[in-house]
Symmetry: C2
Subunit: 214 residues, 2 copies
């Protein structure tokens, strides 16, 4: 099981290998910043990194692989969901973060989405990323229940979170409308109201049969 594409395996983690990786990932970030995600090309990255094309193709396979590794390297480990003291506040803060990440130039999130249509690797990384984030955010809902902000019966945290955040992506990515400073709060508020009305409550037996995701 010596996967030549596993960039985290440490078969020979020493100086050069790590140095090349750093150079290449730096180059990816720089190219992304300069040319945007549609101008991101293996050739460009390799040249900027001062590395031969074949090296990049061997280790990362394609542009999607590069983005995956950039995301992986970008920490992603120490992210914590907001904690403002209220569900509405938490969701609003979360949405503001999302809006920022989508509006930011360059947007890694948008680049990853674009790549995921062409690279299976990128697609998997993306669903993994989202799944993890949503799992981490379930605590927001649990805290809200403890505070009594939501009805005591079980609430499907995932559905609630998606309802709160989906409009952001819809507006900014699909509809490409200008960012609306009120949208994060409005979307959060709508989800909270729906939840309070029991929109995401789930009956004992039938609700959770596909909860493990993908």
């Amino acid at each position: 099981m010596t996967d030549p594409l596993d960039t985290t395996s440490d078969r020979r983690p020493g100086g050069r290998t790590a140095r090349i990786r750093a150079q290449v990932l730096d180059a990816v970030r720089a190219e992304l910043a300069e040319r945007g995600h549609e101008g991101l090309t293996v050739e460009g990255v390799a040249t900027r990194a001062g590395v031969h094309r074949a090296t990049v193709y061997r280790r990362w396979r394609d542009v999607g692989g590069l983005l995956v590794d950039v995301i992986a390297a970008a920490g992603e480990i120490d992210w914590q969901p907001p904690d403002t003291g209220s569900l509405r506040g938490d969701l609003t803060a979360l949405n503001q973060e999302i809006q920022e990440s989508l509006v930011l130039r360059p947007s890694f999130a948008v680049a990853l989405m674009a790549a995921s249509f062409h690279s299976e690797q990128a697609a998997r990384a993306q669903t993994q990323l989202w799944t993890d984030r949503y799992t981490q955010c379930e605590i927001l809902v649990e805290r809200a229940i403890e505070r009594g902000e939501l009805p005591a019966q079980h609430t499907d945290a995932r559905s609630l979170l998606i309802a709160a955040t989906a409009p952001l992506y819809h507006q900014l990515v699909l509809l490409r409308s200008d960012p609306d400073p009120h949208l994060p709060e409005r979307a959060a508020q709508a989800a909270v109201l729906a939840a309070a009305a029991g929109a995401f409550s789930v009956r004992r037996e039938e609700g959770r049969e596909r909860g493990d995701g993908q």
Copy 2:
């Protein structure tokens, strides 16, 4: 103003031009069905249509342009929003349509999204398509208000519609989860509950300043 890319201009609409267009668009649909959106290439379309590459490049510029024209040709004129007698029913039906269009193989909707990351032309066509659809759907909300299903104060129809439909795209396109037969109804119901609680009501002066949307 003789735009060589305006496929609807009728400078010489006679037999051959129209025939070539039909051949090419048929080929696009066939290629899409066989190879999916990532296998859709100008070369492949031209070959299958029995037409020279240069012809396709001249008239449609790129894959995005082809998709745009397919969409344009696919009617889109006679679509009508559902009318089931209740807001919840209407939104559920709408969501079911959306889910179907996203799950269908090949999915023109997904192909268009993918193309819109690379082709400015496709991107514009996409936002135009969505904007039109949402505008058409505003009548659902108006009818609901007349029926007394929503509070009498003005409701921002667009926001409500987006809240109802966005989770579908989020789940199926971004999260790539398996289609959930209950999701269309759940998402619709959540939006209705939020609306009933006043989540999308808008104050007189501050709500509509960006309503015309690009």
